[in-house]
C-alpha cells in the first residue's frame, strides 16, 4: 500500500515542498537553507539531536513558526503568502504535539467535534458519529465522555491524534508525540501511528523512536544545527549512514 520508491528528492507529486528555508530566532539560526519535498502518502521521519531545528522545521509547515526566507508550498498553496488562507491550509494539516494539548474544558468527544462543527458547519450528530468512529480507531470509545485530566498521557495522545483526524486532514505532522510519555505508554501511541501509516496517510514525524522510523518511514531526514545533513531510506540511514555526524548520533542513541 505505501510508497516503495523512497527517493523523495525525485518527487513528481509533492504535497509539501520546502525550498531554501532560513529561520532566525534573533541572531540564532534555527533553520539553515533547508529544502525537502514530501509526496502524497509518504512517511518522513525527522531525526536529530535536540536543538537541531527538527521541531522548528515541522512547525513551519503549518506556519506555527514563520520563516525568514525561502518558500513552503503545501498542497499547492504558499503557506507564507499573505494572500493564502492560512486557516484553510491548517485545517488540511493535522498536528499532534508533544504535550497533547487537548482542550481541558471539553470532554473527549467535544474535543473531536469542536472544529468540525464550528469550522465545517457539520451537524452535531454527524460530527459525533464521525468522532466515535475515530475514537474506536484509537481505542478510546469508552472514554468519550471523560475529560482530558482524567486520562493517562498515552490515552490523551491517542485522543489528540483522533482530534487531528476529525478534520480529515491530508497531512499529519507529529512533533515528538511520545517524548512526554511514560515508557509503558509509548507502544499504544506508536501502534495508532503505524495503523495510520498503513492506511496511506502522508506523515511527517519528529521523533526519537528509532524502531518506528525503521518500520514505518519511507525516508529518514537527519538534521543538525539547523541543516539537513542526510536524507535516506531507513535501512540505508541506520546501517550505512553517510554523514559523519549521523554516525555519531546513531552511536550515541543505539
Amino acid at each position: 500500500m505505501w510508497n516503495t520508491d523512497s527517493t523523495i528528492m525525485n518527487a513528481d507529486n509533492p504535497i509539501i515542498s520546502i525550498q531554501k528555508v532560513h529561520k532566525f530566532f534573533g541572531t540564532f539560526k534555527a533553520l539553515d537553507d533547508v529544502s525537502l519535498t514530501v509526496n502524497a502518502g509518504q512517511k518522513v521521519v525527522v531525526l536529530g539531536p535536540s536543538g537541531s531545528g527538527k521541531s522548528t522545521l515541522l512547525r513551519t509547515i503549518n506556519r506555527l513558526e514563520t520563516i525568514s526566507s525561502g518558500s513552503i508550498i503545501v498542497d499547492g498553496q504558499d503557506v507564507n503568502d499573505p494572500g493564502s488562507d492560512i486557516n484553510r491550509i491548517r485545517a488540511e494539516v493535522g498536528m499532534v504535539f508533544q504535550s497533547f494539548n487537548l482542550f481541558r474544558h471539553k470532554s473527549v468527544l467535544d474535543n473531536l467535534t469542536l472544529a468540525p462543527i464550528k469550522l465545517k458547519k457539520e451537524p452535531r450528530d454527524q460530527a459525533e458519529h464521525h468522532a466515535m468512529k475515530l475514537l474506536e480507531k484509537v481505542g478510546m470509545v469508552d472514554k468519550a465522555e471523560s475529560y482530558p485530566v482524567q486520562l493517562s498521557g498515552g490515552q490523551q495522545q491517542r485522543v489528540a491524534i483522533a482530534r487531528a483526524l476529525a478534520m480529515n486532514p491530508k497531512i499529519m505532522l507529529f512533533d515528538e508525540p511520545t517524548s512526554a510519555l511514560d515508557p509503558e505508554m509509548i507502544g499504544e501511541v506508536l501502534d495508532v501511528m503505524v495503523t495510520l501509516a498503513r492506511e496511506g496517510m502522508t506523515m511527517v514525524v519528529v521523533t526519537h523512536e528509532m524502531g518506528f522510523a525503521r518500520e514505518v518511514a519511507d525516508s529518514v531526514v537527519f538534521m543538525d544545527e539547523g541543516k539537513i545533513l542526510e536524507i535516506a531510506p531507513p535501512n540505508r540511514f541506520f546501517d550505512h549512514p553517510v554523514h559523519e555526524r549521523s554516525r555519531r548520533f546513531l552511536e550515541q542513541i543505539l
Binding site: N62, L64, R90, V93, M95, N101, F103, H105, L119, V149
Partner: protein, 261 residues
Amino acid sequence: MRDKPVVIEVGDGAAIPDPRDEGLFTAWRISFFGTLAIIAYLVVFRPDPYLDIIKFLPDGIVVTFQVTFASIALALVLGLIAGLGRISKNTFFNLAASTYIEVVRGIPLLVQLFYIYFALGHLVRVPDMVAAIVAMGFCYGAYMGEVFRAGILSIDTGQTEASLSLGFNRSQTMRYVVLPQAWRTILPPVGNEFIALLKDTSLVSILAVSDILRRGREFASESFLYFETYTMIALIYLVITLILSKILSNVEHRLNHYERR
C-alpha cells in the same frame, strides 16, 4: 504540562470562603450568623430606633445593587477589551489599552467620581445615577483589564497552538478555547472585584445617589442617631458581602468541575 491551575491573587475585597472547608466553625459562618444574630437582637429588643432604621434602608439597598450590577457589567466589557488590548500585537490597540489602565489606576476613585459627575456635568447633563455608574465602571474596567490579561496569559500556549493547527483563527481560538478556560482563573478575582465594587459604591452617596449609605445619612441627620444608624449600615453591608462571597465560592467550585478527577 501544568497540574495545578494558576490562581490570581488579588488582595482586595472579601476573602472568598474555601468550599472544601468542612469544619463547623468557619470564619464565614461565625461572621455571617454572628451578624444576623446581632441584627435580630437589636431589632427585637431595641426596635426603637433599630427597627425604624432598618425600615428606612431598603430603597437604598436596591439602589446600591443597581449601581453595583450596572457598573460591574460595564467594567467587564471594558475589562475584556482592555485585557485583549494589552496582549494585542496591534500597537495602537495595545497602547490605547495600556494608557487607559495606567491613567485610571493613577487617579483615586473618589476623584474620578467627582470628575465625571461635576467636570463632565458641565458639558453633558446626565442623570446622577448614570454618572455614578459610568465613573465606577470606567475605573473598575481598568482593574478588570489586568485580571483578564492575567487570566488569558495563564492558559498554556499549547492550547492556542492546538486550536490554530485545527484551522481556527485567532478570534475563534480566543472565543472557543482560551476564554472558556480563562474564566476559571478569572472568576475568583472578578468575584473579589465585584464585592470590592459593591463596597465602593458607598462613595456615590457623596453624589446625589440614594444608596444605603446616603439613606442612612438622611436618617441620621434628622434623628441625630449617628451611632445607631451607622451600626446598622455596617451590619447590612457585612451581611450582603458575606452572602455574595458564599455564592461566588460555590460558583467557582462548580466551574472547576473538569479539573476534578
